[in-house]
Symmetry: C2
């Protein structure tokens, strides 16, 4: 649950990659470095540019560049850029269409505090935090251990 689009995941990877290099970088270059398909990288970068997280330079020798430091990019911004405003869908204050059973539904708009809590939580974590937590130990294939046949 709380489906986070795969593109957002890619976006984080791409942004981290951007931070590691000087000057602009091209989509194909990032694609090669990250293993993400080229068209998808391009799509992500375009979206990030629209969200003002990266800036682009067109033409030959063009490419993309980070707009701010990783430590100044809360994960909430990335999610908002890729997936749109952060809010649990359905029956949220913003959805002015209203649920069909508006008169009866007693919880109308009551998700707001929840949305708020999530938004706060996501605003408190920056990409730098995520990058910092990176440990080689994570490469251990945990699922193998979990798959040990208990019975038999």
């Amino acid at each position: 649950m709380l489906r986070l689009s795969k593109l957002t995941d890619y976006a984080v990877v791409v942004l981290v990659r951007l931070s590691g290099m000087e000057g602009v970088q091209t989509s194909p270059g990032i694609a090669a470095a990250t293993g993400i398909p080229e068209p998808t990288v391009a799509k992500v970068l375009k979206t990030l540019a629209a969200g003002d997280l990266v800036c682009s330079q067109r033409g030959a020798k063009g490419g993309y560049r980070l707009n701010r430091d990783l430590s100044a990019i809360p994960i909430a911004d990335v999610i908002a850029a890729i997936d749109g405003p952060i809010a649990l869908t359905a029956c949220v204050e913003g959805s002015s269409t209203g649920c069909e059973s508006q008169g009866l539904c007693p919880m109308r708009g009551r998700w707001d505090p929840v949305n708020d809590a999530i938004h706060k939580a996501l605003s408190g974590i920056t990409l730098a935090d995520m990058q910092r937590g990176l440990l080689p130990a994570f490469r251990v294939p945990v699922h193998q251990a979990a798959l040990q046949p208990a019975a038999q």
Copy 2:
């Protein structure tokens, strides 16, 4: 984004409704009271029963009953019951399949702190909290106003 399934929304409504009555209540009864289609209510209740949030009584005069008070049900439990474990999908520690580009992806498992933050945020809000925020003003049929034929 952060898609929360509609069923979860229904679940909250249903649970709140359950809390307001004594004894057991039937699916049709709740459906009538909330305006949610009967089969859907039944589905939600079955799922909630599986998640141990409500208990059921079969047979004639059967129905559902809350297992604990609203104030003892964090919204996280409801979400977990309906949508499964709370975690942003893709590239999470649990996803033992691993991303295709495991060797390259530098963010492997780095979503965990984010998941944790979200989980904490959701665990801190109970259904009672959501219910408490309820204001009568919300009953105003906003959509009616929005539907006023501006042209002609």
